[in-house]
Symmetry: C2
Subunit: 219 residues, 2 copies
DNA sequence: GCATATTTGTCCGTATGTATA
DNA sequence: CTATACATACGGACAAATATG
């Protein structure tokens, strides 16, 4: 039984599956992943799986310890603080200097509507996803491939943290209307006010995430 | 003759070598890298080399085309514009909000001295390296692991571009004294003026790089 | 503290599909 | 259009490091 007939994209395909498994909480933070076992479960070879591990390690979703294999990354307080500092640095100027008729503005609108619909269904995980999409669109306003790629990595780490915290209502719900308001200010060409609101959002969100995290660690 | 006795770090070690080969110009931009051939030359297995390729592709030094292998990335005008936009976004706030007695300030000083010494030797490549180290230290002022990692990736791309342009005197020499002045302003706790000077540097440098690039493409 | 089992790191050989001369 | 080269992926092997009893 020689090699499988599929010849392309197995690594990328597997990476997508693993990303979802991690962000979705199927793999708990800190859990070690055995090459041999996982390769067997996914029905791919160890060599292929190792390449997937390299990708996800680079993205910050896995951590690699020499001769000890890889484990799902565990978000720390320091990591969350750092992530919000970076988000402030990137998102606020992107929004402040945005052109109000940029294509990404439409993406922001779609995200707002999706968050609204999800909130009516009381599906807070979907609200969280839509919210991240909203912020990804803000970064896209800057038209910088490198910034966009960097934010994608950061967003993956945030999803990991949210998965650890659960996705309770008060972590995502308050921002549905705030996001809509930010978008309205932007299309009204009042970027300074939009940027101020975004900064307020980041401060509030950071505070909530940090306190939820503190509750979690005090077990 | 079974597996080689070395057991750790072969991938990282090889990645370092390849990075230097690329940044140093031993591998020309656009050149395709054959797995089998390179693996033979470096005396490592193809599987190991493929993992190195994943790393460097993620860093932007190589480009990967499905079923066509990897090639050394070729810097484009768009890439250089993007890099300088990102550098402005990251470096200027880092410096503006810096604590003048941060440990990274010492690194800045070392970089200034190294650049000075290299300039007296008229070794413009070494001047360029020291200059990048100076700016890496500026980013380190922000104390953000994610920002530092991101800048490392950007710096690798810049070295690639400089290698393509050659390292002529006028591309690096003017900044030795300017960097020293920026550092002096910072230790004098005049961050606003230091930040202004940094912004002026970035504008000048970007202009020179872009025009050198344009000369290169008009062949 | 030692012998042993497990797991990672690396190698090789080979099959298959895609691209190119 | 055929031949050839090459990238992609598989499986098996073994040495070294780590974990376990």
């Amino acid at each position: 039984m020689p090699a499988r007939p599929v010849t392309a994209g197995l690594v990328e395909h597997t990476a997508v599956s693993l990303r979802e498994a991690i962000a979705g909480g199927a793999l708990a933070p800190g859990q070690r992943l055995s090459e041999a076992k996982l390769a067997g479960e996914l029905d791919i070879s160890r060599n292929t799986l190792r390449e997937v591990f390299r990708l996800l390690t680079q993205e910050g979703l896995l951590r690699h310890e020499p001769n000890r294999g890889v484990a799902v990354a565990v978000p720390s307080m320091a990591a969350i603080l750092d992530i919000y500092r970076v988000r402030r640095l990137i998102e606020v100027p992107s929004l402040a200097q945005a052109w109000p008729r940029h294509a990404a503005v439409a993406r922001m609108g779609v995200a707002v509507e999706r968050a609204h619909a999800a909130a009516q269904d009381r599906d807070w995980r979907r609200v969280g996803s839509a919210n991240m999409e909203f912020h990804a669109a803000i970064v896209a306003l800057a038209d910088s491939p490198r910034l966009t790629g960097f934010f994608t990595r950061i967003a993956a780490e945030m999803r990991l943290a949210f998965g650890l915290l659960g996705s309770p209502e008060d972590l995502h719900a308050p921002y549905v209307d705030l996001n809509r308001e930010i978008l309205a200010r932007l299309v009204a060409e009042d970027q300074p006010e939009a940027a101020r609101m975004l900064e307020a959002y980041l401060t509030m969100s950071e505070r909530k995430v940090m306190s939820a995290f503190a509750r979690l660690e005090s077990d």
